[in-house]
């Protein structure tokens, strides 16, 4: 067994160059319809160009050497043996970073492009390799010899808060943000409360687990710049971080969104962008990087784990008098989105309930645990598990139902949040709970249509661990409130360019934005808005790139609101110019154009009084109308650093869940039998996509409730694979009942309310409440594991 393994040769595919292109939007539907996805046919036929599918002649494969230690000093690195390997084109370290050596979100810039003398978390990038074949790159990495001085990792977030100077993970210190919220007089309220409940809660680290791994292609350009094809949530913010590190001007980097295989917050931070750029600039060749699943677990930030202490006081009837709350979020070694995640946890720390006296302290801290940042729900998820668990405790202490205790304390339009912000649009929480409770229940255990128990539907499923013995049913409720769009004085505007021209005799709209389609269906919605506003059928979606203005991030459930708003505004400008052109070309004035006297419907310019005036193609002829518009939401303010007060949120959205579970109390196994949800979305823009968001968000909440956790000990991740990190399968996810309400928000385009995140909040506490109902266990930690059910 001594024969050398033959090295893999360079890859010579016989396929075409693969990169994103224009897509024609099929179907007819405008706003409110559910037309087909413009990218749907490409996706079902295998032709959609995801970032990991990109290919160009002569490209090299990049790879990243990562730290095996959570905290260590690098004493030396020997690149020689790796550089000497045939097929290796480059081996780079921090010394080769052409520009600034640090980057980060929100102007924090505390994360090294490649480790400089020390590492602060397992998986931190140390060196880069470019080679002819991914296997050669992998072997070259194995030959890079690093001499370490391994240090004791800092892993106790509570200890960091107690002694931040002693436990400094990085120069910024031990605490990233402490955000208090102070309302009324909690000490006095404590003396008055008839009922007091308290508990500690924990949330484990959840992973976004998007299926499309971090990937991209960097192509050196003749002008010394780069063409970058990446899967990201926010190209313009990527560019602000990439360009200075590569020592390039922003306009030297042309970014195009490659197909994105899911995001959920995990692509808010950079992954391979700067690295592939460095390798491409150094070698003068195109470089592709694509993480495998193992590397992906280290290649992006996760949801912050939380340690929380809650105390609620109430009247004997269950009306809340005070909340005393501590939330500790472990952000890992670098800042990422921790500042804003902490702000969210603080401002939404007691949920959608009216409480006259509030004391919240939310902390985001640095440790050597895995880095954490944005994930769907963004700080609101962790708090929601705690405050909803508390509401159930309060209900029990007061002897009233879980639904009733929530209704007694529910906010509504005009209520004050913990921050003092008045809810200025409909928030019919009590009504939503009433509707939820009235929804039909699934058939009782063992009462299937044929009267027999289907073993596959029981806890344990096809493992056949029970025939129904030891199985107990439970029902639970959960409520969540999520901020939509960016908060705290951030102007997260979006930009759209819309072009109207006659192509092949038919008026055609081209919609161009930099907004990231990550799967949510934004491209479908853009086409719907163009059809509604311009009265055309044919719409083409331009690939998202940075040749048009910033669109902001595909996060915070904001793209329907913001990029939807930008496309609508740009279309309105195009329509106004079309109508003005009609006046010019027809040689007459139409009074009251701006009052809606003229409109464009079904390809025709229509007068309210005269009917059809002309077709679009008659007016346009060979002319082209193109307008670019920015859309800004109304301004918000920062939270006061001492009291937490301020109108910090753009919009708020509610979702409520009921979960029904069967629990095998002997084995600790859980089967979620059904989930029901009521959500107010303001206005349904696309029912099919919307239902998909509620289903998918609920599924991720189910994952957090009963299975998903990155297990960490001593700063090391113990389960970085889909074998050991479990996400819900089609056997785990139950059927859902949905009830969608449309109470418009007058400030938002079409009255819409962002919808992607709220279901991820409320499903988790609903499921855990149902397991408590079945078992009587306290269950203060998610995900709930079998041992928590068996041993309590």
């Amino acid at each position: 067994m001594t024969s050398p393994v033959k090295s893999p040769g360079p890859v010579k595919p016989n396929g075409p160059v693969r990169s994103p292109g224009h897509v024609a939007a099929p179907g007819m539907g405008g706003v409110g319809d559910s037309p087909l996805r413009p990218d749907g046919t490409l996706k079902v036929s295998g032709e959609f160009a995801y970032a990991s599918d990109l290919w160009i002649d002569g490209m090299l494969w990049g790879a990243t050497l990562r730290s095996p230690h959570p905290r260590a000093k690098i004493l030396s690195i020997d690149l020689g043996p790796a550089l000497a390997m045939a097929g290796v084109h480059a081996v780079l370290t921090h010394e080769d970073v052409p520009g600034r050596k640090l980057y980060g979100l929100d102007h924090t810039e505390d994360q090294p492009v490649l480790a400089i003398g020390e590492v602060r978390h397992q998986g931190e990038p140390i060196a880069l390799v470019a080679a002819d074949h991914p296997e050669i790159a992998r072997r070259a990495m194995e030959k890079i010899a690093v001499e370490w001085e391994v240090l004791e990792p800092i892993t106790d977030a509570r200890a960091v808060i107690a002694e931040p100077d002693r436990y400094r993970v990085q120069e910024r210190g031990g605490i990233a943000r402490h955000q208090p919220v102070r309302v009324g007089d909690v000490d006095r309220a404590k003396a008055e409360a008839a009922v007091v409940v308290s508990s500690d809660y924990s949330v484990g680290i959840q992973d976004q687990a998007f299926l499309g791994p971090e990937s991209g292609l960097a192509v050196p350009a003749e002008d010394g710049g780069l063409d970058l094809y990446v899967s990201t949530q926010w190209m313009h913010n990527d560019l602000k971080q990439i360009a200075p590190c590569l020592g390039l001007a922003e306009d030297q980097i042309r970014m195009t969104l490659a197909g994105v295989g899911g995001a959920f917050g995990g692509r808010e931070d950079l992954s391979m962008q700067i690295h592939a750029g460095m390798l491409a600039l150094y070698t003068g060749k195109p470089v592709k990087m694509s993480y495998n699943r193992y590397e992906s677990f280290f290649g992006h930030v996760h949801r912050h784990p939380a340690e929380m202490r809650y105390e609620f006081g109430a009247t004997a009837e269950g009306r809340l008098l005070y909340a005393d709350v501590e939330i500790i979020l472990d952000g890992g070694a670098y800042t990422s989105a921790t500042l804003n995640v902490t702000g969210n946890a603080a401002s939404l720390g007691v949920g959608p309930y009216e409480i006259p006296n509030i004391k919240i302290d939310a902390w985001g801290v640095y440790t050597n645990n895995p880095p954490c940042g944005a994930m769907r729900g963004f700080g609101a998820v962790q708090a929601c598990f705690a405050y909803e668990s508390m509401m159930d405790k309060l209900a029990e202490a007061c002897g009233i139902s879980p639904v009733r205790v929530r209704q007694i304390n529910a906010v509504s339009q005009g209520s004050k949040l913990a921050t003092g912000q008045i809810i200025d649009s409909p928030a019919p929480l009590a009504e939503m709970l009433e509707r939820l409770e009235a929804m039909p229940m699934p058939a009782p255990l063992g009462a299937g249509p044929d009267g027999e128990i289907d073993i596959r539907a029981l806890p344990g499923g096809v493992s056949q661990t029970t025939h129904g013995e030891g199985v107990v049913r439970g029902v639970g409720y959960g409520v969540g409130i999520k901020n939509i769009c960016f908060s705290e004085a951030f102007d997260d505007y979006s930009t759209a360019r819309v072009r109207l021209e006659v192509i092949g005799g038919e008026p055609t709209a081209l919609v161009h934005t930099a907004a990231a389609e990550v799967g949510q269906g934004l491209v479908t919605l853009q086409a719907q808005i163009a059809r509604t506003e311009l009265g055309v059928q044919r719409v083409t979606i331009h690939p998202a790139d940075n040749q048009v203005g910033d669109a902001g991030s595909s996060s915070a459930s904001r793209q329907s609101y913001m990029t939807g708003g930008a496309v609508k505004t740009a279309c309105e400008a195009v329509r106004a110019e079309l109508l003005a052109m009609a006046e010019r070309k027809l040689g007459r004035a139409f009074p009251g154009i701006t009052q809606g006297e003229l409109n464009v419907v079904g390809g025709k310019i229509m007068s309210r009084t005269e009917g059809v005036i002309a077709s679009i193609e008659e007016i346009l002829g060979d002319d082209v109308i193109e307008e670019t518009r920015e859309f800004h939401h109304h301004p918000t303010s920062r939270m006061d650093p001492v009291t937490g007060q301020g109108d910090s949120h753009t919009q708020l959205a509610l979702c409520v869940h009921r979960a029904v579970v069967d629990v095998d109390v002997d084995l600790g196994l859980v089967k979620v039998v059904e989930m029901a949800a009521v959500q107010d979305v303001g206005k349904i823009l696309n029912l099919l996509s919307l239902e998909g968001q509620i289903h998918g968000g609920s599924a991720q909440g189910l994952g957090l409730a009963v299975m998903e956790e990155i297990v960490v000990s001593g700063g090391l991740v113990r389960n970085p694979s889909f074998t050991d990190y479990l996400i819900p399968t089609i056997l785990d996810m139950p059927p859902m009942r949905l009830d969608i309400l449309e109470n418009p928000d007058p400030k938002a385009p079409y009255g819409l309310r962002g919808a992607g995140e709220p279901p991820t909040l409320s499903s988790t506490p609903a499921i855990v409440a149902a397991i408590r109902d079945a078992t009587g266990r306290a269950l203060t930690r998610v995900p709930v594991r079998p041992e928590h059910i068996i041993r309590g």
């Binding site: 010579k12 087909l36 996805r37 295989g261 599924a699 694979s721 889909f722 399968t729």
Partner: protein, 164 residues
């Protein structure tokens, strides 16, 4: 090494394949067929599912050399006609788009091959049969509800077509 195989009905010869490469890698990187996806590369997610001699298999778990002389059908081979010109999607593919079963779409090729196989074997599958058949295919976006809708829709369309 050289590998001879039939892919989507055409006989192919692929040269310079390294012995360590998987069927998935060979399809994606040497044959211009990136439709089969690389989400976990350890047989957990089903995104790389292809037909191998008519049986669904995770192409990430099959060594390229193992397919010598065998027949592979990928998601690219399910539609009739050639791409973009006279392409007629398979009813399963159509149903996934129409039912809203596609969001990011990264799991979609594997789910389509697996669903295609299910409906070939069981023309009118129950929900329990659909869930069991698709239990090895992870989807992170949809919560699976629309995927169930898509399979039901595809099965009914195929039954209608067969009855005509």
């Amino acid at each position: 090494m050289r590998v001879n195989l039939t892919v989507n009905g055409a006989k192919e010869t692929v040269d310079d394949v390294w012995e360590g490469e998987s069927l998935l890698y060979m399809l994606r990187e040497r044959m211009g067929l990136p439709g089969s996806k690389n989400a976990c590369e350890q047989g957990e997610c089903g995104s790389c599912t292809v037909y191998l001699d008519g049986v669904p298999a995770c192409s990430c778990l099959v060594a390229a050399g193992q397919v010598e002389g065998r027949e592979v059908v990928t998601v690219e081979g399910l539609a009739k006609g050639s791409s973009g010109v006279d392409e007629q999607l398979d009813p399963v593919q159509e149903a996934f788009v129409e039912a809203g079963a596609v969001q990011c779409g990264f799991c979609t090729p594997g789910l389509i091959v697996q669903s295609h196989d299910l409906i070939e074997r069981v023309p009118d599958p129950s929900d329990a049969e659909i869930r069991e058949a698709l239990a090895g295919n992870l989807c992170r976006c949809t919560g699976y509800e629309k995927i169930l809708d898509a399979v039901r829709l595809a099965a009914s369309r195929k039954a209608e077509a067969a009855a005509r």
